[in-house]
């Protein structure tokens, strides 16, 4: 299933003004070796994507060409429309890879 076909909208919180949110979510437009999205203030940002119908997510692939900017922690939440940075602070079972 092509990811582009099933995503209806994307948005983000705390990204720099020139960020490309679709590229940051792997929906095309990313330039190899270039940073598509960077936090505007602080050390975190949040990306959101809405799907046209219910889907199953199978994998997550991170590409961060600049090691200094690379994320060290990613948390995934599903079916949450009202979400802020406070909500992301909850502890969770960690999966180390």
């Amino acid at each position: 299933m092509a990811t582009e076909d099933v995503v209806t909208s994307v948005w983000a919180t705390n990204l720099n003004s020139g960020a490309n949110v679709r590229a940051a979510l792997g929906l095309g437009g990313a330039i190899a070796g270039r940073v598509s999205a960077r936090s505007d203030v602080g050390n975190s940002f949040i990306l959101f994507a809405d799907y046209r119908s219910a889907v199953t997510l199978t994998t997550l692939t991170v590409k961060a060409p600049d090691a200094d900017l690379a994320p060290t922690r990613i948390k995934l939440f599903v079916n949450r429309r009202d979400f802020g940075f406070d909500d992301a602070e909850e502890p969770a079972a960690e999966v180390r890879i």
Binding site: K63, T72, R73, L76, I97
Partner: protein
Amino acid sequence: MPRSRRRRCVFRHLIPLRALVITPITHSHPRHPLQEIKLSAADAAAGKTVRLKAAKFTAVHTITVYVENESGEAVGVQSIALGVKATEGGADVSKIKKVECVPLLSYYCCGRCSGMDTSRRTPTQPTHRRRHEH
């Protein structure tokens, strides 16, 4: 559904209902992430694919990805791509005999709300107080 979680929708006036949205119930506490992934900077720089726990990531309508650099410095990515496939074995709506309305905030009732579910209230959460004003 356990009896303690059942809620009725009560409207102040008669109103026309134009749509009914049935939202799948997520598998974990709504404030907790379903999966947290730790990466080394080198992993992320090289490009890293993580297999998600498929049983938890079914019936997804909205995905929220919180991204952090724990060193405290700015964080940036080229992409965080999510592999997607159609959810199989979805609910057969034609077999639903009864629909009950469950308020979205039922887990966060704070004691002054009618219909409070005391077994699940979390009255001291500051985020909750901000969201649920009286």
